[in-house]
C-alpha cells in the first residue's frame, strides 16, 4: 500500500504538468485577451500592461517562467484583483468554499444515504417513489433557480434569512441547501441502485438461505459491497463541492474559490486561470487516489500491489 501511495503521488507531477500545458496553450489560443475592453485601450497602454505582466515575452518563456514559479510556490499575480498573488486569492477563498462545500457534502451524504437505502430496502413502496420524485425534482431545477426560490420564500417573504453574503451561520443555510440538493438526489439514486444490485447477488441469497438475519445481511454484505459505485461518484462530487460551485457562489455572493476559474476565463486573467485549474487538478487527483485506496479497504478483493 505504501509503495502504491508513493507511486500515485509521483504521478501527480505529470498530471499537473499535462493540465498546466493544456491550459496554458488553450488560454493563449482563445480569441480575446485580458486587455480587450469595451472602451478600447490605447496601444501604448496595452504595451505597458503587457510589459508589466510579462506578456510581451515569447510564450515558451512565459510558460517556463510560470513553471519555475510553480515549483517555488509562486502562482504569479492576478490582473483582476489589483495584482494580489493568485496564491493569496486562492488561500483566502479556500476556507470559505471548504466550509460551504463540506457542509453541503455532509448534508447530501446524510439525506442521500438515508433516502437511497430506504428506497432500496422498500423497493416499489411509497418511500421509493418519494425518493425518485425528490431526485427528479432536484435534477430538473437548476441550482440558481432553486437558490432564488429559497431566497424568495425565506428572505423576501418570511424574512427569516439574509439573502446573500458570508460570515454568519444564517447566511450559510440557503447556499448549503441549494448546493446539496442535486448531489443528495444523485447519491440517493446511486445508493438505491447499488444496494439493489447487491441484493440480487448470489451471496446475499446464500446468506438468506443460511438464515442470517436481515440486519446481519445488510451490515455484513450489502452495505460493504454497495459502497464501491457510491465511492466512485463521491470522489468527484466532493472535489466539485470543496473547490466550489461557480453558480452558488455567484448567486449568494460568497467570497470563495468557485468563482475564480470562471471569472478568470471571462476576464482572461491568465494567473487566475492557471492557479484555479491547477488547484482543482490537485484536489481531484488526490480524491480519486483516496477513492482508489478506499476500494481496497471496502472490498479486499480489489488489490493494488
Amino acid at each position: 500500500m505504501g509503495r502504491y501511495l508513493a507511486f500515485r503521488l509521483a504521478w501527480l507531477v505529470p498530471v499537473l504538468f499535462g493540465v498546466a500545458l493544456i491550459t496554458f496553450v488553450l488560454m493563449h489560443t482563445v480569441p480575446g485577451g485580458p486587455w480587450d475592453r469595451d472602451k478600447q485601450l490605447a496601444p501604448q497602454v496595452v504595451q505597458n500592461l503587457n510589459r508589466r505582466y510579462g506578456l510581451d515575452r515569447p510564450l515558451y518563456a512565459q510558460f517556463g517562467r510560470y513553471l519555475w514559479g510553480l515549483v517555488r510556490g509562486d502562482l504569479g499575480p492576478t490582473y483582476t484583483y489589483q495584482d494580489r498573488d493568485v496564491m493569496v486569492v486562492i488561500a483566502s477563498g479556500l476556507p470559505v468554499t471548504a466550509t460551504l462545500g463540506g457542509l453541503a457534502f455532509l448534508l447530501a451524504l446524510a439525506v442521500g444515504f438515508t433516502l437511497g437505502f430506504a428506497a432500496a430496502v422498500a423497493q416499489n413502496s411509497w418511500v421509493d417513489y418519494v425518493s425518485v420524485l425528490f431526485a427528479t425534482l432536484f435534477a430538473s431545477i437548476p441550482a440558481f433557480v432553486l437558490g432564488i426560490l429559497l431566497v424568495i420564500v425565506f428572505s423576501v417573504t418570511l424574512h427569516w434569512l439574509p439573502t446573500s453574503g458570508w460570515g454568519t451561520p444564517a447566511k450559510l443555510v440557503m447556499p448549503v441547501v441549494a448546493l446539496a440538493a442535486l448531489p443528495a438526489a444523485y447519491i440517493a439514486r446511486v445508493v438505491r441502485a447499488s444496494v439493489l444490485e447487491v441484493l440480487r447477488q448470489d451471496y446475499v441469497r446464500t446468506a438468506r438461505a443460511k438464515g442470517l438475519t436481515e440486519q446481519a445481511i445488510y451490515g455484513r454484505h450489502v452495505l460493504k459491497n454497495a459502497l464501491i459505485p457510491i465511492l466512485s461518484i463521491l470522489g468527484p462530487e466532493l472535489a466539485f463541492l470543496i473547490t466550489g460551485s461557480f453558480i452558488i457562489e455567484q448567486l449568494f455572493s460568497i467570497p470563495g474559490v468557485g468563482r475564480l476559474f470562471v471569472q478568470g476565463v471571462f476576464q482572461r486573467d491568465y494567473g487566475l486561470i492557471m492557479g484555479s485549474v491547477l488547484f482543482y487538478t490537485l484536489v481531484i487527483a488526490l480524491l480519486n487516489l483516496l477513492v482508489d485506496m478506499l476500494y481496497a479497504v471496502v472490498d479486499p478483493r480489489v488489490r493494488y500491489a
Binding site: 425518485v132 433557480v145 447477488q201 487527483a285 482508489d292 476500494y295
Partner: protein, 306 residues
C-alpha cells in the same frame, strides 16, 4: 495477475460451450422489458416527446419566433396555454420546438458518455495495472480539464453548432462514468461467477457483456438519467457563450435561464420548461431501471416484476 485479455487468448469463441445461447438472452431480456409497465410508460413518454419534436411545426400553435409586443410575459391564458416570454412569443410553441434541441442534446451526449465511458472503465479494470494507471491519470486530466476555454476556442474556430454542444458536453462528462464502471469492474472481476466463467473458457468480451456489465448497470442507469437534465442545462450555459443553439431557436435550458432573469415578474417561464425536463428525466429513470432489470438474468427469480 491474469486479465480478461488472457482469457480471450485462451479460447476461440466458437469452441467455447456457451452458458446461455445469446439469442435467447436478448429475446428474454426484451420480453422482460416489454412486461415491465413502468418501463413501458417511460418508453412511451420518450417516444411521445420524440414524435412531438419531429412534428413540432404541426403541433405548435404559433411560430416559436413570432414576437407579439402586446402580449409580453403573459401567464397561461386561452390564447397561450403556457403563457408568453419577454418578447411576447408563445411559450408552448417554444417548448415544443425546444424539444428538438434539448432531446438531441440529452440523448446524444449520453450516447457519447456511454460509448466512451463504459469501454474505458472496463478496459482500465481488465487490462492490467499499467494501462489502468495510464487511463486513470488521463481521466484525472480530463476531470480537471479547463472545458470552458476549449469551448470558447471551438466556438471561435467552428462557429456555433449543435454538434459542438454534443462534443463539448460529452467530452468532459464521460469520466465519471468511466471511473464508476472501473470501480465496479475491479470488484466484480474477482467474484466467483466471473472467475468461474473465465475458468471454463468463456471469452472475455462475453464475460464482460453478460456478467460484468449487467451487474454494473444499476448505477450506470442512474448516471444516464441524471446526465440528461445536466446536459440540457449545460447546453443553456453554453448558449450563453455563443456555442449553443443560435437564437431565436429555443431550447428548454435557455428557456429556464431566460425565465430566471424575469423570475420576479412571473414564475411561468421557469416552471414549464422545468416540468418538461423533469418528465423526460423521470421517463429515462423508469426506462433505465426497466432495462437494467431486463438485462439481469437472475431478476425473474426475485419476483419483483412491476
Amino acid at each position: 495477475m491474469s486479465t480478461g485479455q488472457g482469457a480471450a487468448a485462451q479460447g476461440r469463441p466458437v469452441a467455447v460451450p456457451r452458458v446461455r445461447a445469446p439469442r435467447s438472452f436478448w429475446q428474454q431480456s426484451t420480453r422482460r422489458l416489454l412486461k415491465n409497465r413502468l418501463a413501458m410508460v417511460g418508453l412511451a413518454v420518450v417516444l411521445l416527446y420524440l414524435i412531438i419534436a419531429i412534428v413540432a411545426p404541426l403541433v405548435s400553435p404559433y411560430d416559436p419566433a413570432k414576437q407579439n409586443y402586446d402580449a409580453i410575459l403573459l401567464g397561461p391564458t386561452g390564447g397561450h396555454p403556457l403563457g408568453t416570454d419577454g418578447l411576447g412569443r408563445d411559450s408552448l410553441s417554444r417548448l415544443v420546438f425546444g424539444a428538438r434541441t434539448s432531446l438531441a442534446v440529452g440523448l446524444f451526449t449520453q450516447l457519447i458518455v456511454l460509448t466512451v465511458g463504459i469501454p474505458v472503465g472496463l478496459v482500465a479494470a481488465f487490462s492490467g495495472r499499467r494501462s489502468d494507471n495510464l487511463l486513470m491519470r488521463f481521466v484525472d486530466i480530463v476531470f480537471a480539464f479547463p472545458d470552458l476555454l476549449l469551448i470558447i476556442l471551438l466556438r471561435a474556430i467552428f462557429g456555433g453548432s449543435i454538434f459542438m454542444v454534443f462534443l463539448a458536453i460529452g467530452l468532459v462528462n464521460w469520466v465519471i462514468m468511466a471511473r464508476m464502471v472501473r470501480g465496479q469492474a475491479l470488484s466484480l472481476k474477482e467474484q466467483e461467477f466471473v472467475l468461474a466463467a473465465k475458468a471454463i473458457g468463456v471469452p472475455w468480451h462475453s464475460t464482460l457483456i453478460r456478467h460484468v456489465l449487467p451487474n454494473a448497470l444499476g448505477p450506470v442507469v442512474v448516471l444516464v438519467a441524471f446526465g440528461v437534465p445536466r446536459a440540457i442545462f449545460a447546453e443553456a450555459a453554453l448558449s450563453y457563450i455563443g456555442i449553443g443553439v443560435t437564437p431565436p431557436t429555443p431550447s428548454w435550458g435557455t428557456m429556464v435561464q431566460d425565465g430566471y432573469s424575469v423570475i420576479f415578474a412571473t414564475p411561468y417561464p421557469v416552471l414549464f420548461p422545468a416540468v418538461a425536463i423533469a418528465v423526460v428525466m423521470l421517463a429515462f429513470t423508469f426506462l433505465g431501471d426497466g432495462l437494467r432489470d431486463a438485462l439481469d438474468p437472475r431478476h425473474a427469480g426475485l419476483g419483483k416484476m412491476r
